[in-house]
Point group: C2
Chain length 418, copies 2
């Protein structure tokens, strides 16, 4: 069946290039992209057109780092650095997800709110509870959110009420992976919480599992100076943080590493060489005062940087706001260092918030031919109609001024879900 | 007539002290504050109570620096530094306000949006057009927004289409001041745009006018390094920027100075000694990459720092978001300088967004006895009900997560306006 969306179509083709199609037709066949046309070609003339008028048709968002069980306390507890914040807020909240009924209630809200914010692709941490992780995957799939979810592995340096034995962690991970076979939109990703929370034995197990089953991996890297010092103590044989993951075979092109705030030239070279995907989390890096990642430099080094809301070190689920926060953080870095080249462009922010995540998920940038549609229709027509304003400027303005109430439609996997 | 608002009342008593009154009564007599009581006293038992349940009753916001005619392009043009940005965006837009009908249409929207965002007190720049400035004052007064508005003075270093002769500037300022007598809620404030846009003769005139009529003054100070260099060239007899204003009698306790990003110890000492009120504009300082003000240091020096949205160098009219942006900017400064003492607290942000502005307007901090009520009712009851969450934490969360759609009521000058 041929359908088409009509409106101002903007796609993120490369970190520096927008594909801009004013008042054009995005044509689909059975939900898969056929192409974008300024005028509907005769051969596609039978398409049933949904006309969104002067609204913006954007790629929907890919939030490549967030913690499902932390959403409920978003915006509170923003006055401590990472390791104390984990103890005071994150761990006690995550412990409640031992209760599947509790998890069901909270994860249903999270899945709904993601979709309402135009996020249709995620890479998410659950808690260490296998059953609640399966519930999170169910709720995402029901809402039409796709991507990866990971049961967290954590067998040391965690409070007793939120710690697995090594044996439990292995067993539950295998059980969880077996149960994941029933999902079609949401797939499992191995998730050692971060190096300090996993024993050598557990990391060895996860590395083998990754190799045997060809699984992707997500974790944290060089977020905070205290954390880096702790890794140095716990893994004295590894000169740098990344080498812990690398030692166990958890550091390659199927790996997402959140933060990378303090990665120096050597660590960044390793990230680039291995094709690891760093996830920039501007909001939480700010809230927890972790620092400001040199994202503009990382993009110049052709690193495949994605964006993450990092709920709930981050204070917003909105990837529009996450784009704006990323630009703001880069400008703060630039002005304090008197180096304007640190400032991110809207092209870069939009690419990182959409296509960069798609690439990690095995898709192509932009509205790529043959792929199921992931799109969001953003209505900015209540804002002033400025003379000569470009679509590029409207995209930047949208990042600063719009929110979930301005999202008119969300498409995921070729289907309109909102 | 006795009335009362019931809810969770939070007032900003000092930059470091919240007055927190859970489930209490804010009692008014003819719109003026009588007091705050946990239980309604017998003598006030006849008060007609509006019960806002578990919502937050906050002071409404005082936005102490914004440019009325720039609101329409908020969120665009964020890719140039100050002086180029003025040329490309601000000046061409302001020129349109020569047309009173255009001004009427745009200022009505601005006044409505201010109130919807809970801002009931402002200090605002208009354009150089006297008639449109009067229209702005009318529209604010109609909406119930109080404070100061200034006709801009600008007789040099402006484009020909937006520049007055010195004579015109004087004559129009006097005419405008005469016409201002009809307003009750909105008063005039002298507004030399900034030192570079005024000749010595005009500054001399404004200084005399201020002294004769005991008028307040607003302008810009040390926002951007390029601007500071320009001031040095134009006023070679003044060792520092502030000394230009001081030389003409425009730098005292009835003066607001926006930005003060690059004020060094000597300039800050002058600000403190003269009792000048600096206005911190976190959003525009970020957008235009001007720098990050050392606000925490300024508060330690007991400077009377207020907050400004600085529309439209700033990207939001919401003072809730301006509070959050101020905290974020201070944390970026703190983490890049590895100095945690730079981080602003929610107490400081809320005080600067409310009471600090009231003090400039001649009022007292907090919900002060005998003053007409300025308040906003903020409904956060849709957010998760966390165990043991304090009202202080709910205030911080509100800054990050709420917006105009969560404002249930706005009171200005003792009257409910929304």
């Amino acid at each position: 069946m041929l359908t088409a969306l009509k409106g101002n179509i903007i796609e993120a083709l490369t970190p520096d290039t927008l594909g801009i199609h004013p008042h054009s037709y995005l044509v689909l066949e059975d939900g898969r992209v056929v192409g974008i046309y300024p005028v509907l070609p005769d051969a596609l003339g039978s398409a049933s057109v949904t006309d969104y008028g002067d609204a913006l048709i954007l790629q929907s968002f890919a939030d490549m780092h967030l913690h499902g069980p932390q959403y409920e306390f978003m915006g509170t507890g923003m006055d401590r650095p990472l390791l104390q914040w984990l103890e005071a807020y994150a761990f006690p909240t995550e412990a409640r997800y031992a209760d599947p009924a509790y998890a069901r209630e909270k994860y249903r809200i999270l899945a709904r709110d993601l979709l309402q914010n135009g996020t249709t692709q995620v890479c998410m941490f659950s808690s260490l509870h296998a059953d609640s992780t399966l519930i999170l995957m169910e709720e995402l799939e029901k809402a039409g959110v796709t991507g990866y979810v990971g049961k967290v592995n954590m067998d040391r340096n965690a409070p007793p009420y939120l710690c697995e034995t090594t044996e439990e962690s292995k067993k539950e991970t295998l059980r969880w992976l077996d149960e994941c076979k029933r999902f079609t939109l949401v797939k499992p990703i191995l998730t050692p919480r971060f190096a300090p929370s996993c024993t050598d034995e557990l990391l060895t197990f996860l590395g083998k599992l990754k190799a045997e089953r060809n699984l992707p991996v997500q974790s944290h890297l060089s977020e905070n100076l205290g954390e880096i010092a702790l890794v140095g103590q716990l893994f004295p044989d590894c000169p740098q943080y990344w080498e812990v993951y690398d030692k166990y075979g958890l550091f390659d092109s199927k790996t997402l590493m959140a933060h990378c705030v303090h990665s120096d030239a050597r660590e960044r070279a390793a990230i680039a060489m291995r094709g690891v995907h760093p996830v920039h989390c501007a909001s939480s890096n700010n809230s927890l005062m972790s620092g400001i990642s040199p994202v503009a430099d990382m993009l110049r080094e052709e690193q495949q940087v994605c964006l993450g809301s990092d709920v709930s070190g981050g204070t917003t689920l909105s990837m529009l706001h996450t784009m704006a926060n990323s630009i703001s953080a880069s400008k703060d870095r630039g002005s304090l260092q008197q180096d304007a080249s640190q400032a991110l462009s809207i092209e870069q922010a939009y690419y990182m918030a959409t296509s960069a995540g798609k690439v990690f998920l095995g898709l192509k940038p932009g509205f790529s031919e043959g792929e199921l549609l992931h799109a969001v229709v953003l209505d900015d027509t209540h804002l002033p109609k400025l003379p000569n304003i470009t679509l590029r400027e409207r995209l930047l303005r949208a990042a600063y001024r719009l929110d979930d109430r301005h999202i008119r439609a969300v498409y995921s996997e070729g289907i309109r879900r909102l």
